[in-house]
Subunit: 306 residues, 2 copies
């Protein structure tokens, strides 16, 4: 952290804005230079409720310089903050970002905090706080995209996009369930101690996927039967991943069947979703760049009036 | 604990045997008198691997008196104990208890430890460590039962019983998943802080059950949509319970449809299973007594040659 702070000095070379990605498990603050480069990334544990206070604390050494240094945040929690940051969710259908960003009031006056509002859907009732920014990042690079976006993560989101708007979405707890079952359930005794990366046994992943997609009603017994599957811990972990991603695909079938699908996300997880969709005859593209950062940058441009 | 130890003295009135119920979360040791009454129950955290050492420590003040004081345990873990306690699982079909109980070797010589072996099934591969004893307890009181036993718990077990034998079984992680989702997933923000008792809103439970049984492939999205269901936290918790028990019933349909079913377990949870089955047209009986203790007592009688 000290390294980047060195760049903030009387010569005027310093951060231009700060983008904050508030997630369940952690908060990331990206300090961005005038050329759009990330000068520094700071993190704090997430899960709390007093989001503006946590952000002010995370950036406290920058605040004396702040003045017009805008801080743009997505994913802000509202629980415990009545009418607070991010409270005004925008109803669908709508573009992922609003035309105007409002400054969050009631915080440290040196903190020029702008919250990207989440999206809400009435039927069925559900809400997004964060994925709308990743969607905005994707659409900044593909403004004419018409189809379905798959955003894997602790909570997976599937969103239908048309004419630059989010039309409808659905969510699953796939990533959270994978972590809980791998690390905290009695299945953990039969899984590798590191508990992640289910991509190491593609055959086990593939057969789990086929099993659950042909008998999705059997999820409960198939998960528990993992206690007895062979002796290879890695194969079990891949099977767990396959069962849960398969259960997600079973639940979201109308979202991908015969659709133009783009998977947003980096690394092995996005590839696994694309592989799973390919096994069902859907050729999805993968957009691996940091779409949250791209979406925050799009919001920064909005703030400038661009 | 001191109270019961007072009863162990030179007058010869003291424990007759000790029954140990080893579960994932905790170990219970029941000290039983000559008339079959529970003199005392001791507990220690479960989850460990060196089961005989934990049991010896839990009973250490009784061991000097031990000699012929038999300790009969069910549910013993084998992980980390190659060839150790409970390692020899018995293949199906078989009665829930073996004809002969073997003493566990390699432990404190004062500890006369007898392990009730678990059951194993080859197709599909799965195993029971503990439920076989509850089944034995139930069959001690209903030796002619022919049908399916439903044993709810952290891990739910469904077992087909015929002619006094366990013919086949299946398991689900329903109870563990309920606890993990209610306490440790992002759903917890919308649930009551105590996080248990989903029986408080019978309508929410019932409608969740109907929803999942009619569209079992939608579990992943229905669970995540709990984030948005109404504003009543208790209703959400009941819905979570209904979705997970419903998913269990969807996965185990051939086990209860048109079958004679007995639910083993006390309190609200067993009643919820019976209610769920009733909603599907199956009138299950409930056996609420402590069937683990009854099964351990049956094993004690076996040891005596009764």
């Amino acid at each position: 952290m000290a390294k980047a702070a060195d760049g903030i000095g009387p010569d005027g070379i310093g951060p231009d804005w700060i983008g904050v990605d508030w997630q369940e498990a952690r908060v990331c603050a990206h300090v961005i230079g005038p050329d759009g480069a990330v000068l520094e990334t700071r993190t704090a544990p997430g899960g709390g409720t007093a989001a503006p206070a946590v952000i002010a604390d995370l950036l406290k050494d920058l605040l004396p310089h702040a003045g017009s240094l805008p801080v743009i945040a997505c994913g802000l929690p509202t629980f415990g903050v009545p009418g607070g940051a991010g409270a005004a969710l925008r109803p669908l259908p709508c573009p992922p970002l609003p035309a105007v960003l409002h400054r969050v009031t009631g915080t440290d006056p040196r903190l020029a905090l702008y919250a990207i509002p989440g999206l809400r859907q009435d039927r069925p009732v559900d809400e997004l706080r964060g994925p709308e920014t990743r969607i905005a990042g994707f659409l900044a690079g593909a403004p004419d995209f018409d189809g379905v976006l798959c955003l894997p993560g602790p909570i997976s989101t599937w969103a239908r996009i048309s004419a630059g708007e989010v039309v409808t979405f659905t969510t699953t707890l796939t990533g959270e369930m994978f972590d809980l079952l791998a690390h905290r359930s009695s299945l953990r005794h039969g899984l590798p101690p590191d508990g992640h990366d289910g991509g190491q046994d593609p055959e086990a992943f593939k057969s789990a996927l086929a099993d659950i997609l042909s008998r999705p009603e059997r999820l409960a017994t198939m998960l528990c039967a993992l206690r007895g599957v062979g002796t290879h811990k890695r194969a079990r972990l891949s099977r767990l991943s396959g069962l849960l991603i398969g259960a997600e695909l079973a639940a979201t079938r109308p979202w991908w069947l015969g659709q133009s699908v783009a998977v947003i996300g980096g690394g092995d997880l996005a590839q696994r979703y694309a592989d799973a969709l390919a096994a069902q005859g859907v050729q999805a593209t993968i957009s691996g760049a940091n779409m949250t950062l791209a979406g925050l940058a799009r919001a920064r441009a909005l703030l400038r009036g661009a």
